[in-house]
Amino acid sequence: MEGPVPGVPDAQIRWIEALPDPPDSARRGPKLWRAPGMLQFEVPGVARYLICGGVTVDVAPFPGADPGAISLFAHQEARAALIHQRGELPLHACTLLAPSGTAIAICGHSAIGKSTLAAEMCRRGWLLVADGITRVSMSAVGPIAWPSDSSVKLWKDSCKNLGIEPAGLQRVRQGADRFAFACASAKSPVPLPWIAKFSVSPVAGFEPVNQPAGTRRAVFAEYVYKPRFGSAASEGAQTLAHLVQQSRAYLLRGARSRPITEIAEYLELALQ
């Protein structure tokens, strides 16, 4: 697991023996400490993670911890902290690249079905850019999304719904029936001209968010991943503002209500 951080290639993950408790003054929440340029958190029984300067993730595993679990939190929460520290945006979104060459970030909270939809799209020839948390930064050509994953995390019932046999897949972590499903993936950063909010609705659909930029920003503000990891005047929020201003914003309806194939067809039609 040591080495470059997926999606943040100039940052490094290092294993260390132990991490002490930071001072109480740095406490920002349950098992969470933050000071300028530094963030530390703990997952009981798994590991402590120290993220510094947007470039290093030090991981101190607890004895006997499952390597899959240690890796999971390093690649998600610790990576999100890195992105915050770099003044960029960790977006709670799966990002996909359509065969037409257009990328879309599909935003949603946990359990909404982002990864299931990503798996379905990849089976239709799309490329995976990021599963769950997308690093978004600004560039001269506008917002870009960084590739970080070559598999999506699927629960057993999602595998069943997609007709995927989980027996041969690697478990994400011990103790949970959640598996890594390999997908064809993007290898370099992609422009991100489309962003969608994946929402629960009894009817599937794909429609533009025809609202002023400020309102659109409010629609997507809840998808800044772990805002407590950033400072109050987080640059991540500014990146979100640029993203929403410069991207086409949509509502993708039907999460958890409609068959994933029906939702996939709306996406295919929109980005063909």
């Binding site: 909270h109 946990s110 629960w155 972590r173 103790g175």
Partner: protein, 291 residues
């Protein structure tokens, strides 16, 4: 430290939503008409997952049950610290401790009071069956499970954070016997029969103060007929997919009219929950003694 959490706790289908409606109308409704779809979720179901994920450094979806349990007391403590006023929290879980840390999941020093609602298990069984679209026999089996918690689902991710409801009597006893909270236990049947008398007592015991006229108006506005009519016309966002209606009967003793709760099932409920039933005056023949 201020205690900002006011818990409305109960086994499912015991009147929790009605009490929340009345209290939220009083707390937030002002003079405006209050819709069932204005009801906050009280940090239950999916909002509890979102609340957890917004406070904890790790997402609930990625944690094993024992890890989640270790975080939950800390998350509720943080929530309490960040609250600016007393907040209603809906709870169907039993009162319990984290197996690993030994801490109460809901820290007692963050809880102002607990309004605990209890309802005759015969009516709960029938109501639960209709709500969940299962047979009454299956509902009785769920209510009688001896496990402390419903089995954790390890093969899927529900939108709701997995509740630990326990058996019917396990839930009742966890809150009303030797719990560390200031518990106001109310029978649904008493509340239904005398809302204008019982609600003011309940509200005062929970630490709130409202004008009598406002309480009376809130009760009137949340009458069962009105709730049913609004659900028919506009739906109710807390009604799960597959459920025919959330506000279904509401009448105590409605089980007698529906016929599905046969002698064998009633005997099973009495056998499994006798002590808790006796404590609350619920007789084996379905009648209810005054307390």
């Amino acid at each position: 430290m201020s205690r900002n959490l006011v818990l409305i706790a109960s086994y499912p289908k015991s009147g929790n939503t009605w009490v929340r409606l009345v209290l939220e109308k009083l707390l937030y409704g002002g003079r405006d008409t209050f819709s069932i779809n204005d009801l906050s979720h009280g940090f239950q179901g999916y909002p509890r997952r979102l609340m957890f994920d917004s406070i904890a450094p790790a997402d609930a979806a990625d944690l094993l049950p024992e890890e989640l349990d270790e975080f939950l007391p800390l998350v509720y403590r943080q929530l309490n610290d960040e609250m600016l006023q007393r907040t209603l929290t809906k709870v169907h879980d039993c009162a319990r401790r984290s197996a690993r840390s030994g801490d109460w999941i809901l820290p007692p020093d963050c809880v102002q009071s607990v309004i605990y609602l209890v309802r005759h298990p015969f009516d709960v069984a029938v109501s639960y069956a209709r709500f969940s679209d299962i047979t009454v026999q299956a509902a009785v089996e769920v209510m009688s499970t001896a496990r402390d918690a419903w089995p954790a689902q390890t093969d899927r991710l529900s939108t709701a954070l997995q509740p630990h409801i326990g058996s019917w009597s396990g839930n009742v006893r966890s809150w009303t016997e030797a719990s560390p909270y200031n518990v106001v236990a109310i029978r649904y049947e008493d509340l239904h029969a005398n809302p204008q008398t019982i609600f003011p007592q309940l509200i005062a015991a929970a630490g709130f103060a409202f004008a009598a006229a406002d309480v009376a108006a809130a009760i009137e506005e949340t009458s069962f007929d009105r709730l049913q009519a609004e659900e028919r016309e506009h739906g109710f966002r807390e009604r799960p997919p597959g459920a025919r209606a959330f506000f279904r009967a509401g009448r105590p003793q409605a089980w007698r009219e529906e016929g599905d709760l046969n002698d064998v099932l009633r005997e099973a409920l009495v056998r499994d929950h006798r002590e808790a039933m006796q404590k609350f005056g619920y007789r084996a023949d379905g009648r209810i003694d005054p307390l």
